[in-house]
Symmetry: C2
Subunit: 346 residues, 2 copies
């Protein structure tokens, strides 16, 4: 896909993209000569621009407006022209000090991360907490709420707490529940949830013929508790900041954007995709893509602790987003969160 552009074309494309990022307006040939010193006349610029348009990197909203970069144009810019400088240690410190994680539980950390990323970037922050099934078993507790209704509390190695209400044999006593949880805590310690599920399923098969009543109950209870995938938790911060961007100034666009940000399932799908990859990922929204992220770009990165729980965080902004500013923020934040989560469990 990376067609080779000669250096002049690259420079001009870069100038156009950057001017457009700054102004959100179509940029014309004269504007380029004014703002950059290429020692070229507007007419020459126009020739190059026509070429770039032929290649699908630029387009013009109408005959007599300037050009704006297409999604492909942005892609090229990001892949080939954008240089992301590393953060200076001072910047790292400032960034780090924006976050306050002391004494926070998982949910609060996720929330805080979204809030700060949104504040720093002035776009919308997105955080998806580690999936339940990517965690490692640490402890399970049962609390009898009423006849046949039991509250299950599950704690992962990383300190993630989940709870769920399940129905169970009405005759179960508190003591039995305690025995059951003791048994399970010993038995399942250190296994990943996938392993736990597999183990439970196979043992349930085996045990069906045996007579250890307690063990049987333990297995079926924990099986019920850990069975369904819990819906992914997702945190959206600073949605209203996006409404300040000129690309979302019309009511229709605002409505569409808010609907997108409100529909968690779409966001989950997006963040899920990036979870398979490593490092910072960039999605550029366009009409062509299956996912309807029209006019928006998404910059994400994963975080994880040593126990393998993986989450994703990122910033969603207009395609015309300040990539060179946001990418380091997302990158560094992901590293930071990984470190913080790692510390949680030692």
């Amino acid at each position: 896909m990376a067609e080779t552009l000669n250096e002049r074309s690259q420079n001009i494309l870069e100038a156009i993209v950057e001017d457009y990022i700054a102004s959100a307006e179509p940029v014309g040939s004269r504007a380029i000569t004014r703002r950059h010193s290429f020692n070229l006349s507007p007419a020459s610029i126009r020739n190059v621009m026509a070429d770039l348009e032929d290649m699908g990197l630029l387009c013009s909203p109408h005959t007599s407006a300037g050009r704006i970069p297409t999604a492909k144009g942005f892609q090229y810019y990001i892949d080939s022209l954008l240089e992301i400088r590393d953060l200076s240690s001072r910047e790292r410190e400032t960034l780090q000090s924006s976050y306050r994680f002391q004494g926070m539980k998982m949910e609060d950390i996720m929330q805080e991360v979204g809030r700060v990323m949104s504040g720093l970037s002035q776009y919308t922050g997105l955080v998806m907490a580690p999936k339940f099934s990517s965690t490692v078993f640490r402890q399970i507790e049962f609390i009898r709420l009423s006849e046949g209704r039991v509250l299950v509390i599950y704690v992962s190695e990383s300190g993630l707490v989940q709870n769920k209400i399940i129905t169970a044999d009405a005759g179960l006593t508190n003591q039995q529940l305690e025995q059951i949880s003791n048994y399970l805590n010993k038995e399942l310690n250190g296994l990943s949830i996938q392993e736990v599920r597999a183990k439970l399923s196979s043992e349930l098969q085996e045990e069906r013929v045996r007579f250890d009543q307690l063990k049987k109950q333990a297995l079926s209870l924990s099986h019920a508790a850990l069975q369904d995938e819990v819906e992914n938790q997702i945190y959206v911060s600073g949605a209203s900041l996006m409404l300040e961007q000129p690309e979302f100034s019309s009511p229709q666009q605002m409505k569409k954007l808010i609907q997108t940000l409100e529909s968690k399932s779409l966001l989950i799908e997006l963040l899920d995709r990036s979870q398979s990859a490593q490092g910072v990922q960039i999605f550029i929204g366009s009409e062509s893509s299956q996912i309807d992220l029209d006019g928006c770009s998404l910059i994400t990165s994963n975080f994880s602790n040593q126990k393998g729980a993986i989450g994703t965080l990122g910033v969603i902004g207009p395609v015309r987003m300040n990539y060179s500013k946001v990418i380091p923020i997302v990158d560094f934040t992901a590293q930071l969160v990984s470190r913080v989560l790692g510390r949680e469990i030692e």
Copy 2:
């Protein structure tokens, strides 16, 4: 405040409010004679309208538009003219069957309630979960995460689960933690959080001089765990539905609305106010009110279980909201949730 209006004025005010609710447009004297059969000419209607305007119940956006009800006009309508019919048992059933609460934990129930109310009303659903401090102690568990870092899990009588990470004496063993939780579970059983806090504070004072090391640790640990008020959980559903309403069609209004719905603290303050009252509460937003709920009305009701945990739910919509439809929804939902939460704990 209830100035007495003669019957004709009342009828006309009612007609205006209802026409305005239906159309969102200023209503003129001719429109009234067309849509209602008062056997009066537009000119007579105009006279009455002028009176109602003098009383501050109506206003006109400009000289040659129709009239729209003021906040005060809506207030009068709701207080004196609106008759809320009870739901038929069939309606109750349909409503009830919209909710699916089986096997749901508290958070999911709250979310579901907001979602369904929003869907039924086509406005925005708001739910504030019972405050931590309004719950009754049931059980506390400690899980050692790492040296000096302990995860506390607190369960209320109503099945509400909270967790928090606290720092503690690095030397604490798992066994000691277990002893501590056993002690606390026996000691604090059945007390409200307020009582627990009081008890812990006073005992901490006393114990300071004594030598029961374990008890001392138990007290200080639980004190740290239950000390701070956890931020109120609030659930907002269907914000984008509001954007369909003509009063929020302009970009400025959309932006303001989304900012309002995004700032949880404002919503919490609003819902908090209604928590002191009983039954269905209605706030009508106006510029005059301290709280900036411009153009919106809020219909709320509280729910609770027998153990006293109180939460608030409601619907936020344009002032020009279909009160006769939404009020029964909110009312019935609050009762329903109370019953469901009650059942949780038997």
